[in-house]
Amino acid sequence: MRLYKKEGSTIQILSFPSDNVEKGDYLLIEDPRVNKKLITQVIDVQFASVPGLLEELLRDSTTEQFVYGEIFDPLEVSSHMNHIQDAWMLLCKIRGTLENEKLGVNVSWLPSRSKSGITKFFISSLLTHTRDNGNLPINIGETKEASRFTINAHDLDGKLNIVTGKKGTGKSHLSKLLVLGLIDYGAKVVVLDLNGEYTNLGFSSNGEKNEYHDRVHVLTPGANLKVSLPQMDLKVMLNILVHALHLPGTSTREFRRIWQSLQQRRAFTLQELGEAIRNWKCNQHVRDALFSRYYSLLNSGFFTDNIAEATTFEEFFEETQKGGALILNLHDVSSVDRQIVVEYTLGKIMELLSQWKIKAVFLFAEEAHLYLRETYWDDIVTRMRHFGVFTTFVTNQPDTIRENIYRQADNIFLFNFTNERDLETVSRAARVDSETVKSIAHDLPSHHCLVLGKAVKDFPMVVKVRAFDVQTMGQTRLFFTDKN
């Protein structure tokens, strides 16, 4: 391999197929005169623009179709000519420097074109330089060289993460790995599980309980997730009415008075709420509006007057002192009911966090745009993060996540995307240049992800996500199941 050109932060390296370099690989350009090494990453492999190649190809194509013959080449010079034809140009991004075996970001120098040697820099070696003293490794998978790849749980702590990629590439699989990895270190995890994919995290593929069984709690709204009105904070209830049920302002003010009246009377049941609306002195339109929302709440099945039946998040978090996951199974839950449940859950978590009843929560939100109201996006990256809600968004529609989320994301686990618009969206992430995202993610095989951000100290790395023994639920139901 030979250093050819540098333009901005892009370096071009001449290479041959025998060098066996692929997109995502790291190369070390060592300049022996200054005892410094430049760390670069291959973001694209192109054919080298060799002079005369077009003539060569034209001649060959003529030969293939219309002309037949043989070549008498006793010295076998042709093999050398073919070798030149196959030359590659590696487009590499400068990632940093290695000086006295210490990583640095000072790339203000340029290695010698004639003297520099270029070697592969294995990710396992790079990892030894990037790892700090973190001692909470989460095993994600393996590198191209089949060495173990771990990220540090500290790198998810207090961070905003995005897991994205097209359908069927393994996003949810990685999310599950992260959830279990966090549980292992005593973290409290809440999963907003849109498709019921996480509900069997406590079971092995053969259906038997696994080591996480007692630490994974699945709550299904209307079944084992119900709340009573006394559990409900007025602010949360108003959020539900306004944002999920779109109650107008005048009616909301009347509801606030009704709620306060019930509080004073200590008559906090659904039945009492219904009676109060019926008897409340107000405009008939307001009453109708309140009644329609009341019946929506009632029909959601999420509310109960039976205190024994009601779920308390406090209890759950008490039980998970050594780490556990609360899976909110939103599968088969209507859009409105989903928003009600999410409003309540997030409100309750914020309440518990603000009262310091829990220290922090790792929130995994699958396809959040389907249940997260507009104002929550900004909340999640600002206010809620400071309270201790560390969110991981999981989506196959990257344009449903706002641009500011990408800009502020600390880690992005990027799976394959072929659609250029999707890649364009993800490339807005501040932690990496857009060329890297577009080029590498475009060609990632299934179950391989490009890890960007703090977890890899801003050295983008391609990882093959490991398999693990958990019953999967994320598979699509098929009609043609019998392949014979």
Binding site: P51, R59, T63, Y68, F72, D73, L75, V77, H80, I84
Partner: protein, 328 residues
């Protein structure tokens, strides 16, 4: 090549297919205004059939320089058309390291082997060796075709000029005789010509002629020097288009066979811009591309352990972007 192991070499910059520095193609005299001559237009009709057509071409190229000599490579190509199919044989590339010490040996080895002559001659200057070796290979390939083909049309690239060291009159005459004896006709196409009539380029005479036709120049002066042509000179305009070519045809072939041969070529080969496809392919298959030159340089570097050095380009140093290599 073995005489250069471990040396340094300066690869040649990409000035491909350098024209031969010694060009005898047009060594015939310019026809003066005092010469009595006539121009006869011969209309042609394609003779449809499957007359075999064979063509020979070679290329030589300078690959680089060493401290003691030059590196060059030659390649030959034979293309023949048989029953609507083109077939080819490419020979080479053959790289050579030519020094003052070995040039005579190489030159005479070629010469004696190809021309079957025993006496040695002095070798040309280093700078002309590339062209000379190429010419010798071309003659040898032409001989091979003349000996193996029968009742065919043999296309040469260039003229039927003889009398130079690497194209001795007796050798070229013998080549043509062998071809004639086997009922072959040699048609020698020159892509360029400096021949002029009344100040006009020879090939421009056919501008207004209706193709396909041949223009025969009668009264062509026989040069008195050592270099002269063994063929009659024609201008061939074989298809519509802007191109016409100087065509040399063996003088000893009767006129009717000359016309028949060209008409058979019209009926048997594809002609684009008056140039036969077989000859065009021979040129394409012998020509070196830039990639190939780099490949040969790599072969030499690997096989003989040569270290490539970059010798400063004096023209570039002196004239910067104005220092073009190919200019004299």
């Amino acid at each position: 090549m073995r005489n250069m192991e471990g040396e340094y070499f300066q690869p040649n910059e990409m000035t491909f297919n350098q024209p031969a520095t010694e060009n005898f193609e047009d060594a015939t005299p310019v026809l003066g205004t005092h010469c009595p001559f006539t121009i006869e237009s011969i209309p042609l009709k394609p003779l449809l059939g499957d007359t075999p057509v064979a063509a020979v071409d070679i290329s030589s190229i300078k690959i680089g320089e060493t401290e003691i000599g030059v590196l060059c490579a030659i390649r030959g190509a034979i293309v023949w058309k048989e029953k609507s199919r083109y077939k080819y044989l490419r020979l080479g590339p053959f790289p050579f390291h030519i020094t003052e010490e070995n040039k005579k040996e190489i030159y005479n080895l070629f010469r004696c082997h190809y021309f079957e002559v025993s006496e040695g001659v002095s070798a040309p200057s280093l700078i002309n060796m590339q062209t000379r070796i190429g010419n010798l290979l071309e003659r040898w390939l032409q001989l091979g075709i003349s000996c193996s083909a029968h009742d065919s049309i043999i296309l040469w690239d260039g003229s039927l000029t003889a009398g130079t060291v690497d194209s001795p009159v007796n050798v070229i005459s013998q080549l043509l005789e062998i071809a004639r004896n086997r009922l072959n006709t040699v048609l020698a196409f020159s892509k360029t010509t400096n021949l002029r009539l009344l100040g006009h380029r020879l090939t421009d005479l056919a501008e207004k002629s209706k193709p396909p036709c041949l223009l025969q120049i009668n009264g062509f002066p026989i040069p008195s020097g050592p270099v002269f042509t063994l063929g009659n000179v024609y201008v061939a305009k074989l298809t519509q288009g802007i191109c016409s070519f100087r065509l040399d045809i063996d003088k000893k072939v009767p006129r009717e066979r000359v016309i028949e041969a060209v008409e058979k070529l019209l009926g048997s080969d594809l002609l684009i811009q008056s140039y036969p496809e077989t000859l065009r392919l021979a040129h394409i298959f012998s020509t070196f591309t830039a990639t190939e030159v780099i490949g040969i340089q790599r072969f030499i570097a690997q096989q003989y352990g040569l270290k490539i050095i970059a010798r400063p380009n004096v023209r570039r140093l002196l004239f910067g972007p104005f220092g073009k290599d190919s200019e004299g």
